[in-house]
Subunit: 192 residues, 2 copies
């Protein structure tokens, strides 16, 4: 994908990318997109996040196997299924797992908790798009949350918001398409 | 605030703006930022959102009064408190209330539901910053969610993700500041 330099062009060029070229993702590439994530807003500017950056193939394979099981609803152990390492998340050069601190008051991540981590995820994906990297955000892993938290050793007090595979895209992608804006707008209050 | 045209400059220039100049926000201004919201990703690309755009001063005042009550933990009826129309949300030229469809399976918005609406909120705020508009995202309204849903006539099946006041900022704002990136990174799996 061509880089995007104009700020207002960025939004309509974000696409879900699930196939990557062999071009390596450098640590500098990664730091650019992670730095963008850090600049996102969060509740009371607490920045309650951590980003797990997975390059280790064995860890990617283990996550991918659980993810594929979540996709298919398969309750068998990973070893009993398809060959390990064949899933989308195995093939991604890097997986980024944004984590958020769980509110102490409730002990669990709720709807509003997302306001303190999904803007950071979006910054990360937009910055990736700006430099020409491809990503996609999935939350499907949460169906096998316990297994994936065990693999990544996510500590008590944190929850995983998403898994974001990242790499140089396999091909060019056009702009995204949306229905007309007015279909999504309500003025002042919802009509009775 | 000066507009930002470079995509990679955008992230570090987003600031929370809570005071606005008298410059009117035009419908064209609004459509630019709302269009950016629409281009955000959502789970399975369902785009399960609506944006309530509030310009009516009486509606803004009613929301603001409830919001101020939520801030102070005041359980009295709004009429018993400070003069109506004095709060931050009353003074904003426009309030945008992003709403999201509640998953049918659970009947309520959960952590993951946020993955389908907070990226859109972030696009909206970034696009606002790009053109020089100021915003801030608050979820504090949820403490008085029932009252605010009644004012806006939010239908069953939708929940309100945030209230985002929007206007031309009262002054210039510098870049945001963050702790060093490495404080937020974990490699491959959390250390034991």
């Amino acid at each position: 994908m061509q880089p995007i330099t104009d700020a207002m062009d960025l939004f309509r060029h974000q696409r879900a990318v699930r196939d990557w070229s062999d071009r390596p993702v450098t640590d500098d590439d990664l730091r650019i997109v992670l730095q963008a994530a850090l600049h996102a807003p969060s509740g009371s500017n607490t920045q309650p996040w951590r980003f797990v950056v997975v390059r280790d193939q064995a860890v990617k394979d283990a996550i991918s196997d659980e993810y594929e099981a979540a996709q298919t609803g398969d309750s068998a152990a990973p070893a009993a299924r398809q060959p390990s390492g064949s899933g989308t998340l195995s093939r991604a050069p890097v997986l980024i797992v944004p984590c958020v601190q769980v509110p102490a008051r409730t002990g669990r991540a709720g709807f509003q908790t997302g306001a303190s981590v999904y803007p950071a995820c979006q910054n990360l994906m937009l910055a990736a798009r700006a430099v020409g990297l491809g990503t996609v955000m999935t939350t499907r892993h949460r169906i096998r949350r316990a297994q994936i938290h065990a693999i990544l050793r996510i500590p008590e007090g944190y929850d995983t918001a998403a898994i974001i595979p990242l790499g140089w895209p396999d091909r060019a992608y056009g702009p995204n398409r949306r229905a007309p804006l007015d279909e999504f707008l309500v003025y002042d209050r919802w009509p009775e």
